[in-house]
Structures are given as C-alpha cells and as structure tokens.
C-alpha cells in the first residue's frame, strides 16, 4: 500500500496539481493581455481625444473587413482598438511587435500607401470615429470614409466596408 501511494498516487496528484496551476496561469495571462488591450483602447476615449465607443466600433469593423479580405481578423481588431494609443504605451504593454507595426503603419503611412491589415485598420478607425461624432448619420459617415480612400489597399478595404454595411442593411 505504501509503495502504491509513493509510486503512483502522490506523483500523479502532484503532476495534476501542477498542470492545473499551469493552465490557470496561462489562461489568466491570456485574459490579462486581452483586457489590457481593451482598457488601453479606452484611454483616448477617456481623455476625450476620440468619441466614446470608437475603439469597440473600429475593432468590430476591422475584424469583419479583414475576414472578408482574407487577412488576420484578430490582429486587425486588436490594432484597430489600439489605433489611437501612444507608441510608448504599446511598447511597455507587451503588445506584440507585429500588432504595434500595424498600428504604426495605419497611423503614419502616406495616404494611399497603407497596405494589407494596416489599410483595413486605417479605414475602420476613420469610419468608427465619424460614426461617433455628434449628429453623425451612418450613411454620411460611410460616404465620407469611402471618398477619403480612393487608392490601393485602402480602396479595397473601403469597398469591403461598403459591402458589409450593405449586407447588414439587407439582412436587417
């Protein structure tokens, strides 16, 4: 009996406990990163730099547009949420470098030069900001956004946005 306990039960229990702890911490770390992104995305809204709700709207639009265009929807949503966040804050917050690069490209690329996911983020954020402005009409915000991006990947992102809005209207 002692041999059974020592050789089997104690090590099995120890392994199971350690594995459960590892899973709990891994899950906790993942949640912490996601929630940190959400809170950092709120910072410009709290400071009054962008209309309230811009981050959430931009993330939702960017994810849907990226999915339609075959890009990484999760990366697009995260980058859209963080689009107005200061680069120093991104660096110390443990945001992956590829996401930070998308945020930087979406904010700083020349008009018409943002490519891929950065183009999606740029268009999504512009649309979300316009939607949040006082007295904004969805059709007006969409038109103004599409007209603003006539070239390259940004135009493709704007076209995807138009299709999404039309699909949403027809299914309503």
């Amino acid at each position: 009996m002692t041999a059974l306990v020592v050789l089997w039960i104690v090590p099995a229990a120890a392994s199971a406990a350690l594995a459960a702890a590892a899973l709990r911490w891994a899950w906790g770390a993942r949640q912490a990163r996601q929630q940190t992104v959400a809170v950092l995305g709120l910072v410009p809204e709290l400071a009054g730099e962008v209309p309230p709700g811009t981050g959430a709207r931009a993330a939702a639009a960017a994810a849907a547009m990226a999915y339609r265009l075959g890009h990484d929807a999760s990366a697009a949503a995260t980058a859209a949420r963080l689009a107005s966040t200061h680069p120093d804050v991104l660096t110390v917050s443990g945001i992956p470098p590829d996401i930070a690069a998308v945020v930087h490209a979406a904010s700083n690329a020349e008009r018409g030069q943002a490519g891929g996911v950065a183009a999606v983020v740029r268009v999504a954020v512009a649309y979300a900001r316009r939607l949040g402005e006082a007295g904004a009409q969805p059709s007006g915000a969409l038109f103004t956004t599409v007209v603003e991006y006539p070239r390259g990947d940004e135009r493709r992102a704007a076209a995807a946005l138009v299709q999404l809005v039309q699909d949403g209207s027809s299914s309503a």
Binding site: S15, A21, A26, A47, G48, S93
Partner: protein, 265 residues
Amino acid sequence: MAESWVVALAWVVAVAVAAASACVAHRRYAAARHAAVAGLVRALAVKDPYTGEHTARVAVYSGWIGEELGWSRRRLARLRQAALLHDVGKLAVPNVLLNKPGGLTEAEFREVQRHAHVCDDILGAVDVLRPLAAAAAGHHRRFDGEGYGAGECSRLSAVVAVADAYDAMTSTRAYRRALPQAVALAELRRRAGTQFDPACVAALLAALARRGEHHGLGHEQTEVVFDTAPPATGLGSAGVGSAGLGSAGAAERAVIASSAHRVRW
C-alpha cells in the same frame, strides 16, 4: 524492483515537466500583470508628465512606509503597484484642470474627484489588476471614514494616502510651490488620526529620518519651469497644503531644481 525504479523515474520526469510548465506559465502571468500596470502608468505619464513622475515617487514613498511597517515582500510588491496606479483615473480628467493654476471651482473639483471612481472602473476591468482597485481607488478615503473615492479605506490605501499627500506637498504644482519638508511633515502629524492613519504617518517619518531624505522646497528632484510663478499657498485634491509660506510673489520665471518640465495653460 527494477520496474519500481523505472516507474519512479518516469514519475519524477512527469512531475519535473509539470513543474517547469507551471513555472513558465506563472512567469507569463506575472509578465502580463506587469505589462498591464506598465501600460497604464505610461499612458498616464504620456498624458501628464507631472502625474507620471508623481506616481513613481508615491510608489517609492509607499514602499518605504511598508518596509517600516514590516510588510512581506509580496505585500510590498502589491503596495507599490497600487501606488503606481492610484492616479490612473486622471486619464479621464482634462489636463487643463490637472494643471490649473489657482483654485478649482466646485464643478471642476468634482470633475477632478471623479478620478478615484474612474480608477476603480479601469482596474476593475482587468482581472489581474482588480485586487489592486480598492487600494488604488481608496487613497482619498480618510482614516476617519470621510473623504471621497471608491471602496473602503484599507491598510494599503491608507499607506498610499500618506505617500500621496506627502509628495503633493513637497513638489511644485501649477497651483502651489513645494512646501518645505518640515511644513509638510507638520501637516501630516496634524492630520494623523483624522485624515491619515497615524501608524502610516509615523512609519513615513521614521523612514525619512532613517534614510536622511530631504524633499520639498529647495530639495526638489525635478526642475519645473513656469511662465508665471505658482503661489506659495494652495490646496490640492487631497485637501492638504493649506499651511503655506505667505502671499504669492510677482509674475516671474521660477526655476526650481533639476530637469526641465514646462507647464503651459
């Protein structure tokens, strides 16, 4: 017999692998928590550099108080994190109010007071920071139960309150020059038992004496340049600092100590 050894060895390996996985997962969890704290602190510093430096000093002073109180390393780490985050609610307060020279109107003061509740909301939104919310957001809760802010006055928030008030009095703000250290300490002693926990005040006094630290007018760490010299008296959001040096001087450039930080309004 040989089989038993093989089984034992296999289990040792299994436990070692599980332990290693747990260590790695725990490090990642701690890193995620550290990143969350660092991100919010940096966001605050980017928005208002004075507040960023202020929270760093409050974290140092809070650590000194906690050490004097004989707290464990783990509790001290929590205390320092809570101190770093205690003003994160000021992300929602316009800089024009944070750096306003002179007194705030009642409406403006209520706007500034909101930072305690916003702090609680922000930290409550991140599970890994939620345990710090009460300590960080409760730093304007008085020892006697009055005051404002979210949550109760816990031991951690009592320490942060003393450190916060001490730094507010010994650093130059747009609305008031730094007070001499003796004046600041006298103010803390006067309010011990009502606004501040007496044990925390005593611990700060002991820590400063033991370290031979000098702060306040003439000992400022950073050079603050103002277009118009701030007055010598004025109250901060903690309601301390009324014991000033006299009437304000004429408009002048007041260069106080080391690195340049221009406040404009």
